[in-house]
């Protein structure tokens, strides 16, 4: 009796899933209109490339929904809709700004989708997760260590590994983000042994320390934030968290004092207009062109921000403002809030704390990174140069984002079971 009642409560918690065919169709139309705008503007000269990129991407969307929605009869697709929507915007920016890199980005997107599906499979079995956690932790530390030794410095941070003559460049810190959440949630699954907690703290400290040495402060901050979220969810100990934050703050101030070049990177903060042709060049252009787009945007290819250095990576938010309009740009940001809210709502009904913590950590990581990007580049917070998840161009970060949303997807029991079965049982 008792279990039956409990099940019924759970079933009620699942709100009616959104009608995905309608939203998928709407999204496809949106993406086709993006393609049409690029076609008219001629920013992508090769028609073959243009039609291939959009054709393959839209086909991938429909195949995914066909397999999971119709064959496997899954019902809840909010997470995928958000991920496909954001990815589509990023793909549009890359295709129209860098005609020759459109294929590379498309491949990254497809690999991201594969990472997503593989991750869902891995996460389906908690025993497998526990088995994998130590190897993943070691691999993550190794990847960061190798980067630190043989990595290349691009834009002031030594966080790239370039293979061949720039044929393939990987950002290991992006891929380690997924591992960081994975290890964090898995280590703390069988608590409350102090030993596992200590191990995780050591692991997190090592990761963050190496990122600091690479001078990738933005990513270090994201890792630190995620560590705090996981530690708090696990312990609920607000005093300890407060102490850790204070210690980190003091450490940060110490670094600013003893390593002035770090402070120099932030000298334009709140003064970008005074350095409009120096250190504030990119941000000033971003502000000017963001408001030039108006609420509805100038259309793909009509922006001017695209000609500024690293616009599709560092200034992705501004490009969306100028070409898609401020309304869509803010909608994009609100979808990150939706991911967090989704994770919180479903954390109660998750199969175990592993799924809850993983989803909450992954979604707040994405939200935090989006916040650093948007508020940093608009000069409301110090600019750390982190990318906007899903939108900014980059293969490693694309795979990382899809990997992270797999954690959010996995929290929902319906991911692994058919909806009608849950309701019947």
């Amino acid at each position: 009796m008792a279990t039956k009642k409990k099940k019924a409560t759970h079933a009620r918690r699942y709100r009616k899933p959104v009608k995905w065919p309608f939203w998928l169709l709407l999204m496809t139309l949106f993406q086709l209109s993006c393609m049409l705008q690029i076609y008219i503007n001629g920013t992508q000269e090769s028609m073959v490339t243009l039609f291939t990129v959009y054709g393959v991407y839209i086909a991938a969307e429909w195949i995914y929904f066909f397999v999971f929605g119709i064959i496997l009869r899954r019902k809840s697709f909010e997470i995928e809709l958000i991920a496909f929507f954001l990815t589509g915007i990023g793909l549009t920016l890359t295709t129209s700004v860098y005609p020759d890199r459109a294929y590379t980005q498309l491949v990254a997107v497809l690999m991201g989708m594969i990472v997503f599906i593989v991750m869902l499979w891995v996460l389906s079995d908690t025993k497998r997760v526990i088995k994998l956690r130590t190897p993943v932790a070691i691999l993550a530390l190794a990847a960061l260590g190798i980067t630190l030794i043989i990595g290349d410095e691009i834009n002031g941070a030594r966080n790239w590994i370039v293979i061949g003559d720039g044929a393939l460049s990987i950002q290991p810190s992006e891929i380690v983000k997924v591992a960081f959440v994975f290890v964090g949630a898995a280590t703390l699954e069988h608590l409350q042994s102090t030993r596992s907690l200590t191990k995780y703290i050591l692991f997190a400290g090592a990761c963050i320390g190496m990122l600091f040495l690479m001078k990738d402060f933005g990513t270090a901050l994201i890792f630190f934030f995620t560590f705090i979220v996981i530690a708090f969810l696990r312990s609920g100990d607000i005093k300890t968290i407060f102490l850790v934050c204070t210690a980190a703050l003091l450490g940060g101030l110490g670094i600013l004092t003893f390593r002035p070049y770090v402070a120099n990177r932030f000298q334009t903060y709140r003064h970008v207009w005074e350095y409009s042709n120096g250190g504030g060049y990119q941000q000033v252009r971003l502000l000017i062109y963001s408001v030039s787009g108006g609420l509805f945007g100038l259309g793909i290819g009509n922006g001017r921000l695209r000609s500024v250095y690293a616009a599709t990576e560092d200034l992705a938010f501004g490009m969306v403002c100028e070409e898609f309009g401020i309304i869509i740009a803010f909608t994009v940001l609100l979808t990150f809030v939706a991911l967090v809210v989704y994770s919180i709502r479903y954390s109660v009904a998750a199969r175990s704390t592993f799924y809850s913590i993983a989803a909450l950590a992954a979604s707040s990581l994405l939200l935090f990174q989006a916040a650093l990007h948007v508020f940093g580049v608009t000069d409301l917070l110090p600019w750390t140069g982190v990318t906007l998840p899903f939108i900014s161009r980059g293969g490693s970060s694309m795979m990382c984002c899809w990997g992270l949303v797999a954690f959010i997807k996995a929290i929902d029991v319906r991911t692994y079971r058919r909806y009608d079965k849950i309701e019947r049982s």
Binding site: F232, Y289, G294, L295, L298, V348, T353, S356, L380
Partner: protein, 466 residues
């Protein structure tokens, strides 16, 4: 699991913080949009420093003064027109702050937060702007100033339409003598970027006697019965206010006709500091005027530390008083318009490329500067000045009313010769136009400013009179 979901609430707080941040960001965008979009680094609107996205600027008749052709800013074909209208049209670098290309740059591009620069992208240019001035009249006025620096402004005192605004020196914007301006040692280009009509401040000299007279009419009941003695100067507390002539014993009206300093110093002392200050306040001294997007320089009148001698000097328009020419034009316009001031306007109409009107000039009333009876008496006095002193033959057929001024300037203001002023209007019903002329260091108001005023007013008569 339950404890965990309770802890998860802290993530709601983080999400709320993020949403609040988005709110702040949106507000920052919204409140700074105009400022940011108008930065010269915005290549949607500017090429270098030139506002290429602006629509055309035309004069009252529709003659094109500036327009963008294939991303290039081009000006009127006639060199004289380009020079005479420089200060109202403005330069592309924004040095001439009151020129419409600067003061109305946002309206000219049609930029707004909702649509951004979409219309500029769509039509290749922004909104068209029609000025209220007549370009030919401006050329006449600019030429009438001859080799002197100064300004001429004329407006319809019933509607507020400014038909002529010129400021000298100017330059031909199509062939800007940048080198000469930057290396100017002769003073030839002194204040060339300032529109003297809107931004200039001058000692008013005897034109201020109109104001002292107004205060006397309001505050001294027997002013028309009084007699004043002039021996070439009037002594106050050991000092004296000097007169330009020796006028003997004269009445109020005659004192204004001949512009007797001795008489007006005595009148100022009778009126007193308080009343004179009240009159100037009612006329808008020490007050900031804006005509659309154009800010006028603020006229100054301050007797707070004045001695009796200073009060005497203030009554004849010397002391520390400074007047903006456009403000002075508003004051005489109000006299002509029975005491009711009408705000001058420079922009007739702004239209989008698809013909929608964004802005259309309309007559805006200012303060009731004078009571109707005071205005009527001042009309008689100003008419009397021309009829009985300057002579109607110097304004043939115009039926002018007005007052000259010869403003002594201290050496720090530069130049030894006084500034020559004329302010006035035609009392013909078919010619409701008021004029102000200032010729810097031009000498006597009557000898220098009246011929300029006459020449331009005759052109006004040819254009608008019946």
């Amino acid at each position: 699991m339950k404890t965990l979901s309770r802890r998860a609430w802290i993530l709601y707080a983080l999400a709320a913080l993020f949403v609040a941040g988005l709110g702040i960001l949106f507000y920052t965008f919204w409140s700074n949009a105009d400022d940011w979009a108008m930065r010269h680094a915005n290549r949607h609107l500017y090429a270098g420093d030139t506002l290429t996205a602006a629509g055309s600027i035309t004069d009252e008749t529709g003659a094109v003064l500036a327009e963008t052709v294939d991303g290039d800013r081009q000006y009127n074909d006639d060199r004289d027109v380009r020079t005479a209208t420089l200060h109202v049209v403005g330069d592309s670098e924004g040095y001439i702050a009151t020129g419409v290309q600067t003061a109305y740059q946002e309206e000219l591009t049609g930029y707004n937060f909702v649509d951004g620069v979409y219309d500029v992208k769509r039509y290749g240019k922004g909104n068209d702007l029609q000025l209220s001035v007549n370009a030919d009249l401006c050329v006449t006025a600019y030429d009438a100033l001859g080799d002197e620096k100064g300004t001429v402004g004329i407006f319809n005192y019933e509607t507020g339409q400014l038909v002529c605004v010129v400021s000298k020196p100017a330059f031909d914007i199509a062939n800007k003598p940048t080198e000469n301006i930057n290396n100017d040692t002769t003073g030839e280009y002194e204040g060339v970027y300032m529109n003297r009509f809107f931004s200039g401040l001058y000692t008013p000299g005897s034109t201020f006697k109109i104001i002292t007279a107004a205060s006397a009419i309001d505050n001294i009941s027997d002013i028309d019965d009084q007699r004043f003695r002039c021996t070439g100067s009037y002594g106050i507390d050991g000092g004296s206010v000097k007169c330009l002539g020796t006028h003997g014993t004269i009445g109020f009206e005659r004192a204004l006709n001949v512009s007797c300093n001795s008489a007006f110093a005595q009148i100022a002392l009778q009126v007193g500091t308080e009343n004179l200050t009240a009159t100037t306040n009612a006329l808008g001294f020490n007050q900031r005027y804006t005509l659309g997007n154009i800010r006028l320089a603020q006229s100054r009148f301050d007797l707070s530390e004045a001695s009796q001698l200073d009060l005497g000097w203030a009554g004849v328009g010397q002391y520390t008083t400074l007047v903006n020419p456009c403000h002075m034009l508003m004051i005489v316009g109000a006299i002509a318009n029975d005491g009711q001031a009408v705000m001058p306007y420079l922009v007739e109409r702004i239209t989008t490329q698809n013909g929608d009107t964004v802005l259309e000039a309309e007559t805006t009333l200012g303060a009731q500067m004078f009571s109707e009876s005071t205005a009527a008496r001042l009309q008689e006095l100003l008419r009397s000045n021309v009829e009985n002193y300057y002579g109607d033959r110097r304004f043939r057929g115009l039926e002018m009313c007005g007052k000259t001024g010869t403003a002594e300037v201290s050496s720090e203001e530069g130049g030894d010769d006084p500034h020559a002023w004329f302010v006035g209007y035609s009392q013909r019903e078919d010619l409701p136009y008021a004029i102000v002329v200032v010729v810097e260091n031009g000498g006597g108001g009557s000898s220098t400013a009246i011929p300029v005023a006459n020449e331009v007013m005759q052109a006004v008569d040819d254009l608008y009179g019946e």
